[in-house]
Symmetry: D2
Subunit: 328 residues, 4 copies
């Protein structure tokens, strides 16, 4: 579930218009801190390379938005030698960007000089026609944020501009004076449209989602009202723990004395936790699902995102829509 | 307020033994994401250099704990060319460490080979005598975490080991076979004992703290019970915003249309917010405090931590203990 | 020209068997410090992603060889969150790897645990059958170094192993126990076979090559014997200078006083220079070539390496083989 | 020996005014690629912190010069979260700066906005009075380059400016309007005046220097004329090899087949080598040199450092005093 979409859920809930219980998967740590951040760190480079063969070194890039997606994109681009500028509306994210070695600018101040513009705000009309008009020749414009609202693509469909389809997902939009900007995926999400997504990260998100659905499905009558819920920390920890062996990573266990000192149980949750989690007999089933993902992830053989999305859809459909519980 | 100490507050609250309302400053974003992370990123290098003149390049270091403090320390050391290993008990932080390019290990598996051991767990007895016995000659041991519990220093005060004070805050502990480990600050916090702390970051934390106290002080009768409270997001945003001009950072403002689309007011809060904040006439006063800090931060002239702590204490004493409100 | 191939030239020269003058382009700074380093920094990620969709975060990778190619590959992988090990035979490069935050290991010591093996040595049989036998399931093996000698692919063509072509340039080699390794480009150069190469870097190399040929073609009778020559520093500087405007980069000029102090002319060469360069009326012609490359580079439209190679071949054929000088 | 000073030697040699043979140690790879780069990477942060307690995160810094020293300084500052601009006169270094993710600017274009100015050019009057006049309040100015010529300190000793000594090596220079700049070490070398230098790197340089002297002293009559010489690669490799065990680094050995393929002997040199290494004794000179270094090393009190210095002494004693030559 998408960040902006989770706001929508809370809006519905607040308005009393949510007709079923909803789980806010986007804000679970295993989604937000892994999928949004690390996935985008990988896919921004992959998407740009596959579509444009652009060199990253020395390029000036403005990343609009410094949430998890913006953090991932800007970290990757900086790491590959780009000079990255950030725009933000939230002062906290803005201050983080500063401390992380990025210049915080208004789009207006850098639009003429940048080689790439990447939107990650979840907002609309972040890159309007006025900005598009002032971009320099050859500027690449793409969206890593929310649906297709961030770039005002509609404004480019006007008689004075010529569109030239260079290859799938790549359009040159040509101004009367010959200037062209390179628009990717017609402003839709670059990482979903044009790059692969690491199956490992997908596995984290998918496992989390399955847990959410399972939790919802198994809940005793009356536990969940027509509201938006977050997954308990302990389950996030469980999902994370399932993925550690891939890295040959060795977790440290608390001693009895240490657990007592910290006021924790030795098996977690290790962070404050206001939620409860029911029966745990599902773990072995989940491990089976994990196995499927891990085999794929381990071999890196997945041919495309579509397959993986189907896989995930199948899982959730089995659990949720069709009303059967595959683990019982 | 320290991470582990905030756990203590929640424990007291849960046990019904909290006798006044308490504010959890540690978990406010301006404290946790700035002070813990960025402050430690700066002070770990500074503290180690001032005390030991150690070269960072190529050194093998194990950082125990990958919370914000551990993230800051390991990022700085990696950036300076050290090879960093991480130990963790929480699978989520562990998985982050893996994705951030660190080997997740058990202390036991690397203790013989590392050149430095840095504790950032908030836990006790993380580095016990058995580990100290197996460290190699010249290994540096220090604590960036919680009070002086993380390294079992008491176990080193035994007859078969010789202590040699090399300089202030630096002890060589010498084994019968001549092996020496270099213990810093006798296991107390390195960043508080032996390094300076960036005044800019201190200013963020101090401003946040002052807001908390002010909020508590000004609250109408009955608003706060004997419980632990978090500062509303909007105030975190305000504190962050006060610090942006230092970086000549330019915040973007939402258009009316965008604010409506996101369901936000144009002045924030920009993130979900479940708290309320009272009167806002204090902002101009706060700006005055900010001015004091900014002058100091801008000139980088603060001679030591003690001065700054005193400054902060004075402020809070004025506000809280003495019962006067300087802004009225 | 390739590093190992330039050694071959010097061998021929030493043996008195070089039958024409040769120019060592590989060791010119604009080739070695840009093409080898920055090109590989970009293409290692691109090649691996396109062929395998592998996630880089947290992966353990061993890079064999820490010359410019190895430096580029390991920098990129570390930047994307991989844990990189280096093998080296030269103690100087080895010490650089240590200082740059990599563990220097023997291949034997990490071969069982790594997720990827990348060869960049210019040597032969760096990854022999004994290593291939011990790799873990799913390990990716590829070559960024010299022709196809580095991985002993011949040893894998034996009856007990099954080859499965997964897609173009990707083979699974399957052991009797089911273990599979993923061999890319059958051990040929990954960056030439399977990824794009930044046209900007190609332009630097190609411009340098054209200068070499031009210099050779225009040399007065008797200037060059049957030996191996390096391009004068001044020409390297000229080539570099031609490429700066792409980055909107502003070069500082020496004042008269400064030039005198350093014993340099204001137009360079800025570094010690033992070679002479003849007539300079070619610059305007070269700028024309540059223009062609820059147009392509700016728009990022080049579809493949082949086109670019052809372009370059055409240029050199015009200059060198066909015996015409397009600039006269 | 300093970079600019080695130019001086070549100038003397060219003019026939060099009265003894000279060894160019500065351009040996173990000096240039280790001392200049890695030493400065460590000491720039250390020097700035000790003198000013400045926070690096988010600060705008201009580094003048992108040679090895400039590369080290800018890499460290970028790694710690600063936004770094580079000025250069040499187009090759300039292009490297661009590819390494720095904006290449003229000092004039950023002088009003930067928080720090660091000179690493080896040139004179890089920061003249006109720039000093335009710096913003609180700007830190220091020199990592060549003697005390880079900053025009003399121009600041004028009646309208007030000097205020804040602490040892730190002066505030105050303009009539109250603006102050923070001048470090009165423009002398920051890393020599105000920071420690990693003894490990010092050991590399010192060992190289000792070898040079030894080589010079032992040379048969007539081998060296009144000219400037470089150390043979093999000796650089030997010096590097002596320092690898500190990192527990494991060098790979060439097989017979591989050495033959590359046309190398298995013990190196691994890179082209036009020099020869002789033998004989020079112990009195060595003793003196060692004395100087031991005093310096003694100031950095890490025990492992002391060990290494001893190790180094032992080695040189073996070679020089005891009259045995381990390379025979």
């Amino acid at each position: 579930m998408h960040t902006t979409k989770s706001y929508r859920l809370y809006q519905l809930s607040k308005a009393g218009r949510l007709c079923v219980p909803a789980m806010n998967i986007n804000d679970s740590v295993t989604k937000q801190k892994f999928d949004n951040l690390y996935c985008c760190r990988e896919s921004i480079l992959d998407g740009l390379k596959r579509l444009t063969d652009v060199m990253f070194g020395g390029k000036q890039v403005v990343v609009c938005g410094y949430g998890e997606v913006g953090k991932g994109c800007s970290a990757a681009l900086k790491a590959m030698g780009s000079i990255v500028y950030i725009t933000e509306v939230d002062p906290i994210c803005a201050l983080q960007a500063c401390m992380d070695c990025f210049r915080l600018v208004k789009l207006n101040d850098v639009i003429r000089q940048v080689d790439m513009v990447i939107t990650c705000t979840g907002n609309k009309n972040v890159v309007g026609r006025d900005y598009l008009d002032r971009m320099k020749n050859g500027c690449i414009v793409c969206n890593m944020g929310h649906s297709n609202t961030e770039i005002d693509v509609a404004s480019l469909r006007s008689p004075e501009l010529t569109w030239e389809r260079v290859r799938s997902q790549v359009d040159h939009v040509i101004w009367p004076d010959g200037k062209r900007i390179i628009l990717l995926a017609e402003g839709h999400l670059l990482n979903l449209s044009c790059s692969t997504v690491p199956t490992f990260i997908l596995s984290i998100t998918a496992t989390t989602q399955v847990y959410y659905f399972y939790n919802l499905y198994n809940a005793p009558e009356g536990r969940y009202n027509k509201d938006v819920y977050l997954l308990p920390k302990k389950m996030d920890e469980f999902v994370a723990g399932l993925h550690l062996p891939t890295f040959d990573a060795h977790l440290t266990e608390l001693t009895d004395e240490q657990a007592k000192y910290l006021g924790l149980t030795k098996t977690g949750p290790f962070k404050p936790n206001y939620y409860r989690w029911g029966n745990t007999h599902t773990h072995s089933h989940l491990k089976h699902i994990m196995h499927i993902y891990t085999v794929k992830a381990g071999m890196n053989m997945n041919s495309n995102v579509i397959w993986r999305s189907s896989m995930f859809l199948w899982l959730t459909v089995r659990v949720f829509i069709a009303g059967t519980n595959p683990w019982k």
